[in-house]
């Protein structure tokens, strides 16, 4: 257990509303990641963080922003949700001693 939690686990929201997803870790890992999983696409990187206030874009970052004000929390924000952002969102951390990543349980987001 890598000590990763995500909240909320499920959310339904309307187009145009802001949404923030939270990832929380308990093991002081430096690197954290947000991925989305869609049918036919596997997992794709949205944003990542390599330390407090240090973040960078991934493959599918348009429409998303992130913040990391504390080591343990990595927030993903959809400023104005669109139906194309309906997806399952996974947070991950990079294991300290190797390149393996450990994933949270996911957040299923539906934008209507």
């Amino acid at each position: 257990d890598a000590g990763i939690t995500q909240s909320p686990r499920h959310k339904v929201t309307e187009t145009g509303t802001p949404v923030t997803l939270r990832c929380h870790q308990t093991e002081n890992h430096r690197y954290m990641y947000w991925y989305r999983q869609d049918p036919g696409h596997g997992l794709r990187l949205i944003h990542y963080s390599y330390g407090v206030k240090d973040t960078d874009k991934g493959e599918v970052s348009d429409g998303y922003s992130v913040s990391r004000s504390k080591t343990e929390d990595f927030l993903l924000t959809l400023e104005s949700a669109t139906s194309s952002q309906t997806s399952v969102y996974f947070c991950a951390i990079n294991h300290r001693a190797s390149y393996e990543q450990y994933f949270g349980p996911g957040t299923r987001l539906t934008v209507t």
């Binding site: 990763i4 991925y35 990187l45 990542y48 390599y50 996974f90 393996e100 990543q101």
Partner: protein
């Protein structure tokens, strides 16, 4: 353009037999490869990995083989068990994106009794 390809969306194997899941990659500079297993409504879980300095890595019933010249890796599960039924993702380490992972689209494995 997809850098990691899993060309078989699904695979069905009988319990006790070998399951072979395949993965191809496009960039010969990739040097670390991983397999993840995912059950519905759960996050992916790490299964096994291999560095480019090796051609084989084994962990219990799971073995990963790497063929660098062909840019191909495979995951062997022997013997397959019904609990192995899940989606398997191949991933490569992306050193240019904070050690993020580039994933294939996944192969859904069904192990039948």
């Amino acid at each position: 353009d997809q850098q990691v390809k899993q060309n078989s969306p699904s695979l069905s194997v009988q319990e006790g037999r070998i399951s072979i899941l395949n993965c191809d990659y496009t960039n010969s500079m990739f040097d670390y490869f991983l397999w993840y297993k995912k059950y519905p409504a759960e996050g992916p879980t790490f299964l096994i990995s291999i560095s480019s300095i090796k051609d084989k890595n084994e962990d219990g019933r799971f073995t990963v083989f790497l063929n660098k010249s062909a840019k191909h890796l495979s995951l062997h599960i022997v013997p397959s068990q019904p609990g192995d039924s899940a989606v398997y993702f191949c991933a490569v380490l992306n050193s240019n994106s904070g050690y993020a992972l580039n994933f294939g689209k996944g192969t859904s494995l069904l192990v039948t009794p």
